[in-house]
Amino acid sequence: MLTDFLPNVISHSIADMVERVGPSVVQVRRRGEGGGAGVIWTTDGRIITNHHVVSHGGPVEVLLTDGRTFEAQVTHRNPTLDLATLKVDATDLPAAPVGDSTHLRIGELVFAIGHPWGQRGVVTAGIVSGLGEVRVPGGDDHHAQYVRADVRLAPGNSGGPLLDATGNVVGINAMIFGGDMAVAIPSHVATAWVAGQPSRRTFLGVAIQPLQLPKGRRGRAAGLRVVEIKPGGPADQAGLQRDDVLLDIDGQVLDHPDALLDAVDGREGDGPVHLHVLRRGALLSLDLTPAVQDLAS
């Protein structure tokens, strides 16, 4: 008899929906440390998360609800939208159903799944509070569309899904726009961004981390420390080593993780780039030939 009781029906609908979609939500971590959340976008290993979750550079690890752990490559990043895509080597992943966020209405029920403060698989409920555009801090004149919700979010929710009442992903939660309010990037923005991604990209085979330099080091304030080198990759072949500090490529200063890929983007086939490197206090010059990687597979 109680199964017909309306509040019970509503409660179980939410629980069913969370059980259904939960496996599509991953935890994105940098080696050992907590990070954020991510949404499995395709069964063949494409995962979407926030750019700021992986902007530190360095290796990224993806944890599934079934206990599997994958090393992930950051294949695309867009700081303006605060989105990044990851690729893991798998073919059987539970992809999340993605809804059309252009039809979202204020007042609609929404649910967030993430890992606030590292606690996995936490669900919070609320409604769509507002829809609009927000000026992106630091951006030139960039406006990003957003969904605001009164769901409770905390660090660790970033990159996770905002779900509608049917369990479809209508947003990617982000917290970078400030305030106590949850802000999500609408799923239609994410869908369009993923669809427009090139299927090939420049590949260096190096994981890096931003680094502040002591004063007087060749007049530079920052560089990128090499934390990992893919054996046989372009960086390895160029003679880069772990703990080298990259300073510039062809005169372009490398003071931010994105600067490295920006500097070589579209340069494949143009021959080697010229790289200045600090190694144990000495300045080295290296030639590095970027490779092209196929992302479709």
Partner: protein
């Protein structure tokens, strides 16, 4: 999707229902520009009249509002009542249908949507429940509000002056942070509308007057006239020709309720007398010679 699936999908229906409620009330919400920086929300409460919070108006001239369809219109100041943090503006040519007011008062546990139109970007909303219905409330203004609503719905910046609505989109209360500094409370719709009517007619709120002096007394069991009140106000003076005297109150009567609301302290009475009660009949529950009586008194105006 077939209709049966849709019918069975309760969660989706709830979701649509809440969105419908927000859409319904939002059609009668305007953005009120009456202070620097953060604009506030106003409610279309009658033909060409906007009800908003008093503290969001830092000036009485050069006021304007923005409608849901994007029109910016000048607004003229009609009246304000700082004690209840309410104000009324008139907007010629507003031409928007007034919002629906809930028939019944708020109940603790009831679903509540806080809705506002803080900017031209569009309405905003948050969901919660009625956490408490309390009162009377004494603020820094002294006598204030006979009843207030507390909710756990998030009050976003610019929500002051906006409504708390029920699941059908009917207005249950008006959101304000101006009664107690920094605390978000709701002024019950019945009170807000009554005060708004008075502000529209007189531009101000008249303070009510009964013409009694009283002191609180405990009522021992067996001396409650069959009622539940454990305390009341013992009348120690009834001024001749006062509203109380004309209504038939007598020295020695114990007043236990004012318009259905229990009173047990002299502080309880003043909030009940403000807020547009002047000239209106109220029912007092009175204990006289061991029996409960209902006595109607028409509230007078304090000079």
């Amino acid at each position: 999707m077939d209709t049966q699936t849709e019918k069975n999908d309760v969660l989706r229906q709830v979701s649509h229902g809440l969105a419908d409620a927000v859409a319904k009330v939002s059609a009668g919400l305007v953005t009120v520009a009456g202070r620097p920086r953060q604009a506030a929300t106003g409610i279309v409460y009658a033909q060409d009249l906007i009800l908003t919070a008093d503290h969001v108006l830092e000036r009485e001239e050069d006021l304007s509002i923005q409608t849901p369809d994007g029109r910016t219109l000048p607004a003229t100041f009609v009246g304000r009542d700082p004690a209840s943090d309410l104000a009324v503006l008139r907007v010629e040519g507003l031409n928007l249908a007034p919002v629906a007011k809930a028939e019944d008062g708020a109940r603790v546990g009831q679903l509540i949507l806080a809705v506002g139109r803080p900017s031209a970007e569009g309405p905003m909303a948050s969901l919660g429940i009625v956490s408490a219905v309390g009162g009377p409330l004494r603020t820094e203004w002294g006598a204030a509000l006979e009843q207030y609503i507390r909710t756990d719905a998030t009050p976003y910046p610019g929500f002051s002056g906006g409504p708390l609505v029920d699941a059908t989109g009917a207005v249950v209360g008006l959101t304000t942070t101006g009664l107690i500094n920094g605390v978000t409370l709701g002024v019950p719709a019945a009170i807000a509308w009554r005060i708004a009517d008075s502000l529209t007619q007189h531009g101000t709120i008249k303070r009510g007057y009964l013409g009694i002096s009283s002191q609180p007394v405990q009522l021992p069991e067996g001396q409650r006239g069959g009622g539940k009140a454990e305390a009341g106000l013992l009348l120690v003076r009834v001024e001749p020709n006062s509203p109380a005297a004309q209504g038939g109150l007598l020295l020695g009567d114990v007043v236990v309720a004012f318009d259905g609301q229990p009173i047990s302290d002299t502080d309880d009475l003043q909030p009940l007398l403000s807020g547009g009660r002047v000239g209106q009949p109220v029912k007092l529950s009175v204990l006289r010679a061991g029996a409960l009586h209902e006595i109607t008194v028409t509230v007078g105006q304090r000079d």
